[in-house]
């Protein structure tokens, strides 16, 4: 089966969709991942590879790209509705420097 997601680093907890994924579609990286997409996920967007708790770091490229703002389940779409960055947050008092 041809892959439909890309995992950049082995420590990543999200993968990137390289085709539009439909709800229920099985994620396939270099091997079948045993996870189903819980909703439709557009090309280029991220999908969780494991459960991520609220406040936990989301890892891509082997580095943190932000934190989960709510609990995320494996197979869920990960984007601005449940992930936020910590850098350049002038809106937060005493934000990251």
């Amino acid at each position: 089966m041809k892959n439909n997601v890309v995992i950049i680093d082995k420590s990543d907890n999200v993968a990137t969709a390289i085709k539009d994924l439909s709800e229920g579609e099985v994620l396939v990286g270099e091997v079948e991942l045993g996870i189903k997409a819980l909703q439709a996920i557009p090309f280029g967007h991220k999908v969780a590879l494991k459960d991520i708790k609220r406040g936990e770091e989301v890892i891509k490229y082997g580095e943190p790209i932000g934190v989960a703002t709510v609990d995320i389940r494996a197979g869920e779409h990960v984007h601005i509705h449940n992930l936020e960055g910590r850098r350049g947050r002038g809106d937060q008092k005493g934000g990251e420097s």
């Binding site: 984007h79 601005i80 350049g88």
Partner: protein, 276 residues
């Protein structure tokens, strides 16, 4: 590998292009600059929103940027167009560019006696320069003379997966061959700076680099606004990029894997080779 061909400039730099640059020294001279460029085939207008009511470091930055544009080896000749009363005055700018020993001249709208006369004078001068440029021929040059600048635009998640890593491979190869590659867009390093700092040529450079990124971020924080929506931009977000860190981690891929040797301020000339 086939040899590189380019235009050797009097100051020893080599250009890939042979542009005739019509450079506006001040926003009021923009229209005149455009009209002169339109009348001369191959001329490139350089216009901007600065040049007046500026003092100190602000003014010097505009001078440096326009001077750098004129001195760029891709520019074969330059004509500066000013109004006559501006802070970044055309004559001074032209003389600074002339340090490169390429053909440079200027027109001042007020000195010429008005816009129409200045445009006429500018077109005559530009046509003479264009004829000089037609005589330039491309000749072989070595990789040590090549400077490659990298930029991105319209980033989405494929940028960090495909376009930027591909550019990074080219960057590595150019550096290996003795050329220079410049990575820019400082805000899009925020979130990835620790990855890049490991590749500084010296610990002092790494420290200076981290401090610089910190300052850039603090400057934006002082505005009291949330970066998001600005960077990543709405188009980036639609394309799947969620956070600034994610964008930066993808963006730095276009710099390849070499170590970097110099940190350049805006409009500063490189003094070293390799990755900067």
């Amino acid at each position: 590998m086939s040899e590189l061909l380019g235009y050797w400039r009097p100051d020893g730099q080599v250009g890939i292009r042979n542009h005739l640059a019509i450079i506006s020294s001040v926003v009021c001279a923009n229209r005149g600059t455009e009209l002169i460029a339109e009348a001369v085939p191959g001329a490139v207008p350089i216009i901007h929103q600065h040049g007046c009511a500026q003092i100190g470091a602000d003014m010097e930055m505009v001078f440096r940027t326009l001077e750098g544009t004129g001195k760029n080896p891709n520019v074969g000749a330059a004509l500066v167009v000013g109004l006559g009363c501006e802070s970044v005055d055309a004559e001074t700018l032209a003389s600074r560019i002339a340090e490169s020993e390429k053909p440079v001249d200027f027109v001042s709208i007020q000195k010429s006696g008005g816009t129409l006369r200045a445009i006429e004078e500018g077109i005559r001068k530009a046509k003479n320069m264009a004829q000089l440029l037609w005589k330039n021929e491309r000749e072989p040059f070595g990789w040590d003379k090549l400077i490659l600048g990298t930029e991105c635009g319209g980033s989405d998640t494929t940028s960090g997966l495909a376009a930027n890593p591909a550019t990074g491979r080219v960057a590595d190869r150019v550096v290996e061959l003795g050329g220079t590659v410049i990575l820019s867009e400082t805000t899009e390093i925020i979130g990835a700076e620790h990855v890049m700092a490991r590749r500084a040529a010296t610990p002092e450079l790494a420290e200076k680099f981290l401090e610089l990124i910190d300052q850039v971020e603090k400057r934006y924080m002082r505005l009291g606004v949330d970066f998001r929506g600005g960077n990543p931009a709405p188009g980036n977000i639609k394309g799947g990029l969620t956070t600034l860190e994610e964008k930066s981690l993808g963006a730095i891929h276009k710099a390849g894997t070499s170590i970097f040797h110099e940190l350049l301020d805006y409009a500063q000339r490189p003094t070293k080779k390799g990755w900067l």
